[in-house]
């Protein structure tokens, strides 16, 4: 034991990577333990009827129910519909919000001129538009898309606008002094400078997107996971209702984790992600 300790002290370079690997494993297992702990707690509370198991089934009922669902066509078509609406809404909102935001953020005049309108429209909850959208577009798939786009354009636009304003003055003047054209400066300086903000915008928009898609499913009954939740609840099959709710949670988690992974890759130059050489 004592011999080991001295060896370790003498060879920090060898022992440190192993220590780091152990830490990495710990970082992955810690959250998992919390999840398991909560599941066990849920199980106990529902089995002992502290929580009414008629409305809140135990985990050991929900998970097999979910496994069963995964073998049905209904599940996959509603899952597909939700992911599709999410993705399409995300792409459209990004395509509108990011260029517009970068443009507004790059021009002091535009920024001043548009700020009142943006600050007025932005806080309107997208769900408040449900009646209007349904009246105009009907209770279909376009209505959902419209709501998603309205909700997600703002975070994208505002983040892009902040990003364009975050361009460093010296870096900008360096580009001007080296005679980069306006377009070259936009592409090579403004966009990369703004990219951390753009990714934050994507992260915010992606979760709002999912919330709206599921809400639209519940309220205006567009096909998808939200609609399935309402159907299951109306039919009194709470097991599958919870199974669907669980799926929406997993989908949301997957989107956020995915974007975080992209961020880590693309932003390796940012101080918070830098690795020592």
């Amino acid at each position: 034991m004592a011999a080991d300790a001295t060896a370790e002290a003498r060879l920090p370079a060898v022992t440190r990577p192993a220590g780091r690997r152990a830490a990495a494993v710990r970082h992955r297992t810690e959250p998992l333990l919390v999840v398991l702990g909560l599941a066990v707690l849920w199980e106990i509370l529902t089995r002992t009827d502290v929580l009414p198991s008629r409305y809140i089934p135990p985990v050991t009922v929900i998970v097999p129910e979910l496994a069963d669902l995964l073998t049905t066509g209904t599940f996959w078509s509603s899952f597909g519909a939700t992911v599709y609406s999410w993705a399409l809404g995300f792409v459209i909102a990004t395509a509108i919000g990011v260029p517009l935001g970068l443009l507004i953020g790059s021009s002091r005049l535009l920024h001043r001129a548009t700020s009142v309108v943006i600050e007025f429209l932005r806080p309107i909850p997208s769900v408040a538009l449900i009646p209007l959208v349904v009246l105009v577009l009907g209770a279909g798939y376009q209505a959902t898309l419209m709501l998603v786009v309205f909700a997600c354009v703002w975070p994208q636009l505002v983040q892009a606008s902040y990003g364009a304003q975050a361009v460093d003055r010296v870096g900008w003047e360096t580009a001007v002094s080296f005679r980069l054209s306006a377009w070259q400066r936009f592409r090579r300086i403004t966009v990369p400078s703004a990219s951390p903000y753009l990714l934050t915008g994507c992260r915010i928009a992606s979760s709002i997107d999912l919330i709206i898609v599921v809400t639209a499913g519940i309220v205006i009954r567009t096909p998808g996971l939200g609609n399935e939740i309402t159907l299951a609840a109306n039919a009194g099959s709470f097991d599958s209702m919870y199974a669907y709710i669980l799926v929406t949670g997993i989908v949301g988690y997957a989107f956020t984790t995915g974007i975080a992974a992209v961020e880590k890759r693309l932003m390796s130059w940012r101080p918070e992600f830098r690795k020592a050489h």
Binding site: V170, G171, T174, F178, R179, S195, W269, P271, A276
Partner: protein
């Protein structure tokens, strides 16, 4: 080749500020000119006007007879804030390539120029590092390499070594002398350090307190071959240092006197 004719710069605003009153001077081909002056004397403003980043309120700047109204291809500017002037999302080489790609230089030529410039600043093989992986002195070397790879005829430097430690500073000063002898460049160098201005240059232009004018011009008649210890202990060097110092101080005294009277 670089001419400044009665240049003046007043910043307009609620309280207009006359930064530069009247500066005329000219820099000949291949010359190394140092601009010194008390802090806040509009050295940087003058350099910005020379580079075309800023436009003078009165007078004009000409390069080879052509009036400078925006940055021109024959000039490159090295900033004091290397950490902000280099782009953190690009590698060392990508930082150097950016201006060359913008100027439409061919791929093979870009490679050649980058490699040569990096070697000349003593950073060969550092192409794929990121600026933030390098020390401050090395980062400023990258900024210098980027400027010389651009092949300007005139290199403008704005207090480039003001934010590095003393040892690094001396190394970078010697690097500039070396680069000057390798490349056929005219250099205008702004500094507040008197020794640095004399050590590097052929001519020291002392600027006055704002509203700035040229207080005095000192030709530096030291041998071209210079080294930190030898040159700085030459009697001519010390004499010149005292003279430049006096020129700056006298100007400060005059201003102080004027203020006291007012």
């Amino acid at each position: 080749m670089l001419e400044v004719q009665s240049l003046g710069k007043t910043y307009l605003g609620s309280t207009p500020h006359e930064a530069i009153r009247d500066i005329s001077c000219s820099v000949t081909e291949g010359e190394f000119v140092a601009l010194v002056g008390p802090s806040g004397c509009g050295k940087t403003t003058l350099l910005r006007c020379l580079s075309g980043l800023d436009s003078p309120t009165t007078g004009e700047v000409r390069v080879d007879g052509a009036r400078v109204i925006e940055p021109v291809a024959s000039m490159a500017l090295v900033f004091q804030e290397y950490g902000r002037s280099l782009y953190p999302w690009l590698t060392v080489e990508q930082n150097m390539r950016l201006p060359l790609e913008a100027a439409g230089v061919s791929r093979s030529e870009i490679r050649e120029r980058c490699d040569r410039a990096l070697t000349d600043v003593g950073l060969q093989g550092m192409n794929d590092r990121h600026p933030w992986q390098l020390s401050g002195g090395m980062q400023q070397r990258v900024a210098i390499a980027r400027a010389i790879a651009y092949r300007p005829r005139i290199l403008l430097m704005d207090e480039p070594f003001a934010s590095v430690d003393a040892q690094t500073r001396e190394d970078l000063e010697d690097l500039m002398l070396d680069i000057r002898s390798r490349y056929d460049m005219t250099i205008v160098f702004v500094t507040h350090d008197i020794e640095e201005s004399i050590y590097l240059s052929d001519r020291v232009i002392v600027l006055s307190q704002p509203p700035t004018t040229v207080a005095k011009v000192f030709p530096v008649n030291l041998p071209r071959e210079r080294d930190q210890l030898g040159t700085k202990s030459l009697p001519e060097f010390i004499e010149l240092r005292t003279a430049v110092h006096r020129a700056i101080r006298r100007d400060e005294d005059v201003t102080a006197g004027a203020l006291a009277k007012a």
